[in-house]
C-alpha cells in the first residue's frame, strides 16, 4: 500500500479515536442537562426535601456544599498560597525542600477515600470535632492543598527573575518585592489553581462520607459543629440507597452539581485566558 495512503488512513484513525474519547463526554453532559432541566425550578432549588427525599427541593444539600467549599477555601487558600511562596521564593535546594516537594506530589496522589479515613481518625475522633462541618471542611482542605500549592508555585515561578532583582535594586525588602510585585503578577495563575482545587473539593464524596455528610437532614446547618447534607453525597444516596426515587430528582440533582462545578471550571478557564492575553511579559 502506498505510504501516503497509509498516512491518510492513520490520521483518520487517530481522529476517530479522539472522537471516541470526546463523544461520551458530550453524551454524559447532554443527557444530564436534557433530563435534569425538567426538574429545575425555583422550588427545587429553595425548598427542603420532603417524603423521604422523593419530593420537594434540595436546598440543604446545595447550602451544605457551598458551606463546605467556603470552609475549605478559608483553610486551604492561605496555607496553599503560603506553602507555594515558601517553595518558590524562599526554599533553597536542600534535602528538606526536595522532601517537601515529594511530599506534595504524593499528597496529590493519595486516594480521596484515604483522606476520608484520615479526617475520621484525626478530626472526628482524635480532636473530637464529631461528624461536623468543621471536620469535613478541614478534611477537604487538606485534600485540596497539594493542588493549590502546585498551581500557585508554578504561577510564581513563571514571574521573571528580573522583576525580583529590580525590586531589590530599588531598595525593597524581599517580602516587599513578593507582596507588591511577584504576587500581583502571579495572581491569575494562583486564582486558577485555587478554583480548580476548590471545584474538586466541591464535587468530592469520599472524604465527606464519614466526616460530615448527613443522609437526610431537612434543616440548614446552624454552627460549624452541625452535620449537613451535601450535593455529591445526596446524589449518591438518592441514586443507590433510596428505592422508588423519581428519575427527575436524580437527574436534577446531578445537573445542579454539574453546573456548580463546571461553572467554576469555566471561570477558571476564562480568568486564565483573559490574563494571558493581557500579560506584558
Amino acid at each position: 500500500m502506498n505510504r501516503q495512503v497509509v498516512q491518510r488512513l492513520g490520521f483518520a484513525l487517530l481522529g476517530a479515536v479522539a472522537l471516541i474519547v470526546v463523544i461520551p463526554i458530550v453524551l454524559v453532559i447532554g443527557i444530564i442537562v436534557v433530563r435534569g432541566a425538567g426538574a429545575i425550578s425555583w422550588g427545587f432549588l429553595t425548598e427542603m426535601p420532603r417524603d423521604g427525599m422523593t419530593a420537594g427541593g434540595i436546598l440543604p444539600a446545595i447550602v451544605g456544599t457551598l458551606v463546605l467549599t467556603f470552609g475549605t477555601a478559608i483553610v486551604a487558600i492561605p496555607m496553599g498560597v503560603g506553602g507555594a511562596i515558601y517553595l518558590s521564593e524562599y526554599a533553597r535546594d536542600t534535602w528538606l525542600t526536595r522532601a517537601v516537594r515529594l511530599a506534595i506530589i504524593n499528597l496529590a496522589g493519595v486516594p480521596s477515600v484515604v483522606y476520608g479515613l484520615f479526617g475520621l481518625g484525626l478530626f472526628v475522633l482524635f480532636l473530637q470535632f464529631g461528624t461536623s462541618i468543621l471536620a469535613g471542611s478541614l478534611t477537604l482542605s487538606i485534600m485540596t492543598l497539594p493542588v493549590i500549592i502546585s498551581a500557585a508555585e508554578e504561577a510564581l515561578r513563571a514571574v521573571p527573575t528580573e522583576f525580583r532583582t529590580v525590586s531589590a535594586s530599588l531598595g525593597g525588602t524581599k517580602w516587599q518585592g513578593i507582596q507588591r510585585i511577584v504576587l500581583p503578577q502571579a495572581f491569575p495563575g494562583i486564582i486558577t489553581g485555587v478554583l480548580l482545587g476548590l471545584l474538586r473539593a466541591a464535587g468530592e464524596t469520599a472524604p465527606i462520607l464519614f466526616t460530615v455528610a448527613a443522609f437526610y437532614l431537612p434543616y440548614l446547618p446552624h454552627s460549624p459543629f452541625d452535620q449537613t447534607m451535601a450535593l455529591p453525597y445526596h446524589l449518591f444516596v438518592i441514586s443507590t440507597q433510596v428505592p422508588g426515587m423519581p428519575d427527575e430528582i436524580k437527574y436534577g440533582t446531578a445537573l445542579v452539581l454539574l453546573v456548580l462545578v463546571l461553572s467554576m471550571n469555566l471561570v477558571a478557564t476564562l480568568i486564565r485566558g483573559y490574563f494571558r492575553r493581557r500579560r506584558e511579559w
Binding site: I20, V28, G109, T205, K250, L257
Partner: protein
C-alpha cells in the same frame, strides 16, 4: 514575621503526609495484631462473621485498575498524538477544553451516569445477568484516568526536540512514519509516567467504582470475572466505614485496607515522580 509563618507552612506539608500515615497506622495497626496475617490476607471477606480476608478486595482493585488502564492507554496515547502532531487548530481548540471538562466532572456524577445509562447498556450488550460488573467500572475508570494520561503524554511528546522530527522527515519518512518510529519512541518514558499516574488515579477512585461494580466480595480468579460483580478496596472502605463501631476489629481492618491503598499509591507516585526528576536532571529526553 510573615516570612517565618510562610516557612512553617511550607514545611508543614511534609508534616501532613507524616500525620496522615501516622493516623492510618494508629487506627490500622491493631488489625495486624488482632487478626492473624493469614486471616488478613485470606480469601474470604465476611466481616459480620469475623472473616477479614482482604485478598478478594485487593485482586478486585487490581483487576478493575489494570483493565481500565489497558483501555485508556491506546485511547490516551492516540488522542495525545492527534492533538500534538496531527490535529488542525480548530480541532485542538475543541478537544482540549472537552478533556478539561471531563477532568472536572465529579466522580459521583460519572457513577450516576454509569448506574443509570452505562450499566443497562453493558447488560444488554454482553448478555450478563447484571450490568454492575468489573468491566463497567473499568470503562468509567478509563475515562476518569484519560485527562491525566493525555496531558502527561502530550507533555512528553512536546518535549521531543523539533530536530528529531526534521531528521525523520529528511530521511524521506512520511509524517506518520516519523511519529511512530521516532517521536513516540523518544517520548516513551513520559508515556510510562502517564500509565503510572493513570494506575494511581484508577486504583484510588472510590464513588464511581462503588456505584457500578456491584460490590460482591468474591475472588476474581475465573476467566469471566471481568464480567461479574467485583468489590474494590476503596469501595469497601466507603461502603462499610459508616456502619462499623469505632474501635471494633472491622473498623481497624478497614483502616488497614487504607494503609495498603496509601502505600500503594505512594509507591506509584514515587516511581512516576522519579522518572520526571530523572528527565529534568539529564536536561533532555529518553
Amino acid at each position: 514575621m510573615i516570612e517565618a509563618l510562610i516557612r512553617v507552612i511550607g514545611v508543614s506539608s511534609i508534616g501532613l503526609v507524616l500525620l496522615i500515615f501516622a493516623f492510618l497506622l494508629r487506627e490500622g495497626v491493631p488489625a495486624f495484631l488482632t487478626t492473624p496475617l493469614r486471616g488478613l490476607f485470606g480469601t474470604r471477606w465476611y466481616p459480620t462473621f469475623g472473616f477479614f480476608g482482604t485478598l478478594p478486595l485487593i485482586l478486585g482493585s487490581i483487576l478493575v485498575t489494570l483493565t481500565a488502564v489497558a483501555i485508556a492507554l491506546p485511547l490516551g496515547v492516540a488522542t495525545a498524538v492527534f492533538v500534538r502532531e496531527v490535529a488542525p487548530n480548530w480541532a485542538r481548540e475543541v478537544l482540549k477544553p472537552m478533556i478539561e471538562v471531563l477532568a472536572g466532572i465529579p466522580s459521583v456524577v460519572l457513577g450516576f451516569f454509569g448506574i443509570t445509562i452505562l450499566a443497562p447498556l453493558v447488560r444488554e450488550g454482553l448478555g450478563t445477568p447484571t450490568g454492575l460488573t468489573a468491566f463497567t467500572g473499568s470503562l468509567l475508570l478509563a475515562y476518569m484516568a484519560l485527562p491525566t494520561m493525555i496531558s502527561v503524554a502530550e507533555d512528553a511528546l512536546d518535549a521531543v526536540p523539533r530536530s528529531y522530527r526534521d531528521a525523520g522527515l529528511a530521511m524521506g519518512a512520511t509524517q506518520w512514519q516519523t511519529i511512530w518510529r521516532v517521536v513516540v519512541p523518544a517520548a516513551r518514558s513520559g508515556i510510562v509516567t502517564a500509565v503510572m499516574l493513570g494506575i494511581g488515579r484508577a486504583i484510588g477512585e472510590t464513588m464511581a467504582v462503588m456505584m457500578v461494580t456491584g460490590n460482591a466480595a468474591r475472588m476474581p480468579i475465573t476467566l469471566n470475572s471481568l464480567f461479574m460483580p467485583v468489590r474494590t478496596m476503596t469501595a469497601t472502605i466507603a461502603a462499610e466505614m459508616g456502619e462499623v463501631a469505632h474501635g471494633s476489629a472491622h473498623y481497624h481492618v478497614l483502616f488497614a485496607v487504607g494503609i495498603l491503598l496509601f502505600v500503594f499509591t505512594f509507591l506509584i507516585n514515587l516511581a512516576a515522580a522519579s522518572t520526571i526528576f530523572q528527565k529534568r536532571r539529564r536536561g533532555g529526553l529518553r
